[in-house]
Structures are given as structure tokens and as C-alpha cells.
Symmetry: C2
Subunit: 212 residues, 2 copies
DNA sequence: GTAACAATGTTACTGGTGATAACTTATGTC
DNA sequence: GACATAAGTTATCACCAGTAACATTGTTAC
């Protein structure tokens, strides 16, 4: 159609669209949350037409799922870096690392666990990545149990308790439901310690011993 | 303008729009989640024009906030009904009731705590209602502490731990992240008990006693 | 080298959304 | 009954996700 003689740097094939879209979307997610991610705006900012994105992501949710996957991988990496030599130390540290991840990446964390936006059983890669992060937690507990440090109760029960605690704490923390946001690590440590040592007063605890 | 002689049942003033919209939105929320609530669809179903709704709700989020408020009030009511005579029983029961509420109303619960959709500090009534539900939890713990059943540690710390636990458990449960959905009450009870009694093996616990 | 094909872009369009502006009608008060 | 106000209306804007049909480029087979 055009008769222009200039070679005009044909950007018809962008070459790196999926990667660049992923990166940009991740930045928008981090700064403004998942609701702010619009494929049209994304395409415009990259300099490509909106439907082009559909060549690489079957729909918006698939893009979000990809972001969540990288989130779970990052979380898993950070959990894996925790020193496992001492059981008690490892349990506390893994809790601290978990919560601090959520606090560092609140919008990403919300997407990862925003059950409504990305339900389970729809994006297989997401489910696998989630399981991968969860597994680190479970392994740590299993190890502590094997070392005889943790009660020999059902592993799944113990893991559910630990995960619930750190997940709930993360969620409440990033949504501003907890006071004293500055003393956060201290709070996290105290909360995790409570799950380990229990909340019941000493004398009440020993009453049980006398009965047996 | 019209010359029709029939009185034509003037529905110009609906009379009960806000109440009816609230009710219908709540039903849609329950069945299909907050994302499925559209003011246009809502208006059409009620038989009114879409902008009419804006006379009663300043925007969509305000309507959602109203729904969340009723959610918090319902949660508070259910928590208040827990028998408080025995401290341990009360603590466990309040956990059971909390989680069962979330499981009964997953979409409502998600809206109530969907920090992204309804951030804190924007809808005062919502913040108050949330605090009201939280207060029941805190009061129960304070009572157990006053009775000498719970360790005399910081109340806010203990409350944060308890709330994190039941909230995390609720969230993970309704999003399908926990196995064995059928044995849920049993799981909840086990998890709450862990926070009370601790997770550490007996012999490890007693080692502390000998040192002192 | 060229023809066929697959990959990856494009424009044009549909149907749906929240929200606002300007107008109309019913209701309650003096 | 006049009239202010509350509560509806239609018309319109700007945005969005997603689809269809077409265009361009890179690759592979002959």
C-alpha cells in the first residue's frame, strides 16, 4: 500500500512480545495490583496492537496465572534458602521468610492466593508451582518431626496449622488489619513461637500431667 | 408526552430500590462472586435503569462495601453466640464457628477480606463492622487470659496469632488448598488445639523445666 | 529461487462495563 | 396549588476482553 522507500525498521514481528508483556505486566501488578492490568494498555505501552497479545496468552487470566507462577517460584526459592540445621530455628525462620515475602510483594501475593481471580484446577502450571512452594514448608516440618522436635501428630494437620498461620498473618498484615506494622518481624516471630510452644498457661498445662 | 389513557401503574418511583438492589447483589455475590456483580445487570433484573442505582450507591465499590458490612455483622452475630463458660471450649468453638462461617459463605468471606477490592480506610462503616467482629475474638481471648487459662502475654500478640490462624485456615480451605475437605471441622479443631497446646514434643518441652 | 506454510502481527468489530450529564416525573411541604 | 427535592429517565463517554478476517514475515520443501 505505502510507497515509502525507507526500509522503516519493520517491527511487524516484535520478536520478544511474550517476555516483554510478562515483564511489564509484572511491574504493573507490583505497583497497582492485578485489577490495573489491562491487555489493551499493556499492548499500547509495548507498541503493539491488543489482539497481538492473544497470540501468546489465551486470555487475560492466563497472563495473570503466569505472573502468579513466577511468584510461587520466587517464594519457593526464598523458602529453600532457609538454613535447616536447627529444627526450631528452621521453623521460625521459614515463617519469617514467608511473611516477609508477602510483605515485600503484597500485590503479587494477593494474586497468588486470590482464589477468586485464579481458582484452583484451571491453570495446571499454577497449581504445580503452588504445590512446590507449599512442599518446602511441609518438608521443613517433616524434618523437624523426624528429629523428634515436633509432636508426632499427622503431618498434614501440622502443616495445615503452620501454613494457615503464616498465610493468615501475611494476608492480615498486607491488608492493614494488624496494628504496629513496623514491629512486624517481631510480631511474626512471636506468633510463630506461640504455635510451637502453645498458648496455655504453665500451671494449666501441668494439671494434665498430674492426671496421667 | 404519551396520550395513553391507562393509569399505567407508575413505577417511576420504585420505592425500595436500595434494599432490593442490596438483596439481589448479595444473592449474586453468594452464587457467583463479587466479580459477577454488574450494576447494569442488577438494574435490568430489578426493572430499573442503571443510573438509578447511582442515586443510592455512589459507586460499585460502595455497594460491595455494604455487602461486606452485612457479612461482618453476620459473622459477629455468630461469634457472639458461642458459649463462653469454659475458656478452652470457648476458644476452640470460636475458631470452629469462624471457619465454618467462611465455609458457608466463601464468596462473601472473600469479599470481606479481599484487601484489593475493598482496601481499608476507604469505607468507614466497613472498617467499623470489621473491628466489631474482630472484637469478639479479642474479648474471648482476654477472658480466657483473665481466667488464667491463657499465658499472660501481650493480648494483641495472642489475638494476632489466633486471628491469623483461623483466617488463614478459612482462606486456604475455601480456595481448595487443603486436602480432605470433608473432614474439615475435625481439621479445624486439630489446628486450633495446636495453637493452644503447642506443637513441640513433650520431652523437648520438659527440658526447659529442668534448666530452670 | 520460489512456492507453500506457519507464526505473528494488523484493522475492524461486537458486546459488555462503570460512570456522568441533562432531562423528567413523582412526592412532600408551605 | 406552587414549588423544591428526591428519584427516576435517556443519551453518551471512555474503557475493557475477546473474535474474525486480513497482512506480513520467516522458514522449509522442492
Amino acid at each position: 500500500m505505502s510507497v515509502s522507500s525507507t526500509p522503516l525498521k519493520t517491527n511487524y514481528h516484535h520478536g520478544d512480545l511474550p517476555q516483554q508483556a510478562h515483564q511489564l505486566a509484572l511491574e504493573i501488578l507490583r505497583e497497582h495490583g492485578d485489577a490495573a492490568i489491562s491487555l489493551r494498555a499493556l499492548a499500547k505501552q509495548i507498541g503493539v496492537s491488543a489482539p497481538a497479545l492473544y497470540r501468546h496468552f489465551i486470555d487475560r487470566d492466563s497472563l495473570l496465572a503466569e505472573l502468579a507462577v513466577t511468584g510461587f517460584e520466587a517464594l519457593r526459592a526464598r523458602l529453600l534458602a532457609v538454613d535447616q540445621s536447627d529444627p526450631r530455628r528452621a521453623l521460625i525462620d521459614i515463617g519469617l521468610v514467608y511473611v516477609s515475602f508477602a510483605r515485600d510483594e503484597p500485590n503479587l501475593y494477593r494474586l497468588m492466593f486470590g482464589g477468586r481471580v485464579l481458582p484452583k484446577g484451571i491453570h495446571p502450571r499454577l497449581d504445580i508451582a503452588g504445590k512446590g512452594a507449599f512442599q518446602v514448608l511441609e518438608d521443613t516440618i517433616a524434618q523437624a518431626q523426624a528429629a523428634g522436635y515436633v509432636k508426632p501428630i499427622s503431618l498434614s494437620l501440622m502443616t495445615a496449622a503452620a501454613w494457615s498461620l503464616v498465610h493468615g498473618l501475611s494476608q492480615l498484615s498486607i491488608d492493614g488489619h494488624l496494628p504496629s506494622t513496623k514491629a512486624e518481624p517481631h510480631l511474626t516471630q512471636g506468633v510463630v513461637t506461640l504455635l510451637l510452644d502453645g498458648s496455655i498457661a504453665e500451671n494449666k498445662q501441668h494439671k494434665k500431667d498430674t492426671t496421667s
